[in-house]
Amino acid sequence: MTVMEQRGAYRPSPPPAWQPRTDPTPLLPDAAPYRVLGTETAGKADPELLRRLYAQLVIGRRYNAQATALTKQGRLAVYPSSTGQEACEVAAALVLEDRDWLFPSYRDTLAAVVRGVDPVEALTLLRGDWHTGYDPYAHRVAPLCTPLATQLPHAVGLAHAARLKGDDVVALAIVGDGGTSEGDFHEALNFAAVWQAPVVFLVQNNGFAISVPLAKQTAAPSLAHKAVGYGMPGRLVDGNDAAAVHEVLTDAVRHARAGGGPTLVEAVTYRLEAHTNADDDKRYRADSEVDAWRDHDPIALLERELTERGWLDEAGVRAAREDAEALAADLRARLNQDPELDPMDLFDHVYAEPTPQLREQQALLRAELAAGQEGEL
């Protein structure tokens, strides 16, 4: 008889009143990602919504291409492209009402732009011209967040505060697959579920955390499964299917707004380009894999659906491309101008009032600048 047999199988005895808090079954995600495009469901979709998604996807693709090009020209310090992931970006921005909040990660510039942030201001961080170029309150978009998953507790706190104030506000926070490994991901989901905060967590599972594939990130059946442990529903969706992502996020936002609490949505997508321009993706993935995903391109999927159903004509395609070109041209023109930065601004906004120590340092820099100017004369 083994020791374990002597002791009996490990069976924790529950206290008398113990009941599972939530039946996990309805919280579990579907086994396969939810799809709309290419299925019969697509026929019931709103053509106007799909055309709007399409137009934004085309703009988004061009925006990504232009920003990447500007990186090569040295106009941006770095650009983490969302090429291939535009459906998630666009849907995330479009499902929110004006009063709602978006909490983007560093890769989600496009979501901010679709939400209305000026494209140049959205790139300020990546240009190296201050850290947040836009007023977060103007469009209710939190600053692009570089540390992983740390924006998620902010979304929870904001949504919770809004609810305490009686405001009908939802926060949608975006995180990548790698970010789900961070402690802040766990703490945010747990807080949101305990507080029943009106939050939607959107995981853009693009396959890689820089070079590390999902299999080395998690042993969970899917990232959406993680929701169950927190007591919130998990939804799994095809992240390249703009109609599906929009529908699932709309459901989650509606659920949150109605007081139903948070939802974790995993959108399965793919990063068609490298992590950033500093990354060599050939070291960790084969061209064949990338090509396979190119065949599942979010723009092609939607364009095929729309044209096959006769909901989009050549004029519509042309109009979307023209809008995209106009945005790219504007971006190019404005980013090709050197920003005017005042070094004296370094000491502003560290505190509401500069400390005496900062005033001294400000005086030092002012003197250095004055001496430099004299030297030039």
Binding site: P136, Y137, T150, H154, G157, L158, G183, N190, Y351
Partner: protein, 334 residues
Amino acid sequence: MTTVAVKPATMAQALTRALRDAMAADPSVHVMGEDVGTLGGVFRITDGLAKEFGEDRCTDTPLAEAGILGAAVGMAMYGLRPVVEMQFDAFAYPSFEQLVSHVARMRNRTRGKMPLPITIRVPYGGGIGGVEHHSDSSEAYYMATPGLHVVTPATVPDAYGLLRAAIASDDPVVFLEPKRLYWSKDVWNPDEPQSVEPIGRAVVRRSGRSATLITYGPSVPVCLEAAEAARAEGWDLEVVDLRSLVPFDDETVCASVRRTGRAVVVHESGGFGGPGGEIAARVTERCFHHLEAPVLRVAGFDIPYPPPMLERHHLPGVDRILDAVARLQWEAES
């Protein structure tokens, strides 16, 4: 002759009163943390607040410091004034990323658009027999992070006045509560109107001419005791209580050192890379020609905080302070 009935009160009572007054005065003030609700906090600082203001304003959170502080960031973004309790000094470490990456710099990274008026209460320091991870003095970490105010009271009235100021501040404030002074009593009448102390001003607790003891928080009473003991040696020590580590009150500190010509910095946290090094350097840079002796430091040893049975050897006490004062080369004057 009329006598005013003045009750002695503890620092803990003053802190509770400050929280209650702040919550009553401003509905956007929210207290949150682990055990702060029903229990009233492990030190009872938040006692009665949940009952008086409701659980939405004094909230027991899940046990997760990063989550607590991260949620507070979002709440502050939406116009609330969260007052967060980190149960013990070393328990705050999981929240450091939120602190340094977001709390401290949100105002700066948004060019003033998104200030975060968060107060982070951290019971800190040793001397209460706490076991491991319950007695750290982590002020050097906070001081090294631009964007944070770092405040620590040493008296009962200051506990009230500085906490009210911290909560009213539009910037994040790390409010370090010397836990071994929680039960120290002072003449403080809670029924009288209380003053709010502006953050950033040091105060001379005891005037003297021979040398200045520069200190803060839990070491202030120790320094005052040392100053009394020093009289037997014929030394007349001045004691400066910093009250605020960031911003630092160079003016008060340097005025004192210029008067006395000698200075010893006293604190519990380790000396290497500790606050004393910064303070000694500042004093030396500004008062060099007034100094009769090098600025000395009496600090905790550079060791992980020791077990409680040995902490009395680690904490700067009266004798160690007096030894340092003796090393200020008094013979040079005679």
